[in-house]
C-alpha cells in the first residue's frame, strides 16, 4: 500500500469516526493531528478504528507521540505490506 493510498484510507476512517467534520480534501501529511480536534476518548476510538481498518496494533503512547497526519501515515506504512 503506498502512502497516498494510506492517507486516503486514513481519511475514510477518520471521517467515519473520531473527527467526522474534518475537511479531508484539505488534509496533507503535514496537517497536525491536533487540528482534527480529537480528545482523549476520541483517541481511543481512533486507535481501534485504525487497528481494525489496517490490521495493525497501536499503543496509546505511540498514538500520542504522533503529531501530524504524515506521522500516522509513516507509522501505518511501516506496519503494512
Amino acid at each position: 500500500m503506498d502512502r497516498a493510498t494510506i492517507l486516503e484510507k486514513l481519511g475514510e476512517v477518520i471521517r467515519e469516526g473520531a473527527a467526522s467534520d474534518v475537511d479531508w480534501a484539505a488534509v496533507t501529511e503535514s496537517t497536525s493531528l491536533e487540528s482534527f480536534g480529537v480528545d482523549s476518548l476520541a483517541i481511543l476510538d481512533l486507535i481501534f478504528d485504525l487497528e481494525d481498518s489496517f490490521d495493525i496494533k497501536i499503543e496509546p503512547k505511540q498514538m500520542l507521540a504522533m503529531k501530524t497526519a504524515g506521522d500516522l501515515v509513516q507509522f501505518i506504512d511501516e506496519r503494512t505490506d
Binding site: S40, L41, I43, L44, I47, F48, E59, P60, K61, L64
Partner: protein
Amino acid sequence: MSTALKAIGVYGLLRALNLTWRYSESGREHLDACLSSDSPTVVAFFHGHTVALLQFMCRQGNGRWMSMCSKSADGDAMAWIEQRLGLEVIRGSSGSGGLEAIVEMIRFVRANPKIGPTLAVDGSRGPRGVVKGGVVSLAQRTGGTILPISASASRAHIFKRSWDQTMLPHPFARVEVRYGEPLPVPAKLSAEQFEAIRSSLESRLRQLESPDSLR
C-alpha cells in the same frame, strides 16, 4: 511489614469477614439476563463498594470476571488478593491518563468475551460518585452491556477519610447486592449519546445506592 505480608493479612481478613456476611440480592434478573447473553457484561460499581462486591461476584453461578491492577507494589498486592478471590487479573499501566489501561482491557475482553470486566467507575481517585467515560468506551468497543451494581450493609464501617468512603461491612452484617437495569452500548456513538449513557449510568448507580449505605 512487607507488601506481601500485608496482602496476606488483608486477604485473610476479607475471607474471614466474607464468611460471616449474609448476602441477599435484588434485581438478580438483570445479572441473569446479562450472563445468558452472548455479549460481554461490563460490571460497573462505585469504588467504595469494592470490598463488599468483589468476593460475592466471584461466587459460583455469578459469572466470570476480571479486573485490572496497576503495575506497582500496591498493584502487586491487589492483584494477588483479587486472584485469590477468584478474579482474572490483568496488569495495566496507568500511563497516558488511563488510556493505556482502557486499551488493555478492551483487548483482553475482545480476546476473552466470556470474562466480563469489573470497573470501579469513579476510580482511580474520584470524585466519588462521578462516573468516568472509560467504562462507556470499554462497552462500546467490546459490544458489551453495562450492568450497574451496588452494595449496602445493615452495619458497616465507612472510612470517612478515604476519597471513596470505603464501606467495610461489620462481621455478621446483612449485605444486599443490588443489580440495576443494564445499559446496552452501541458501537457507534455521537458525543451527545456517549454523555447520555455516562450520565444515565451515574444516575442508576446513585439510585441503587441507599442514602448512606447503612440501614
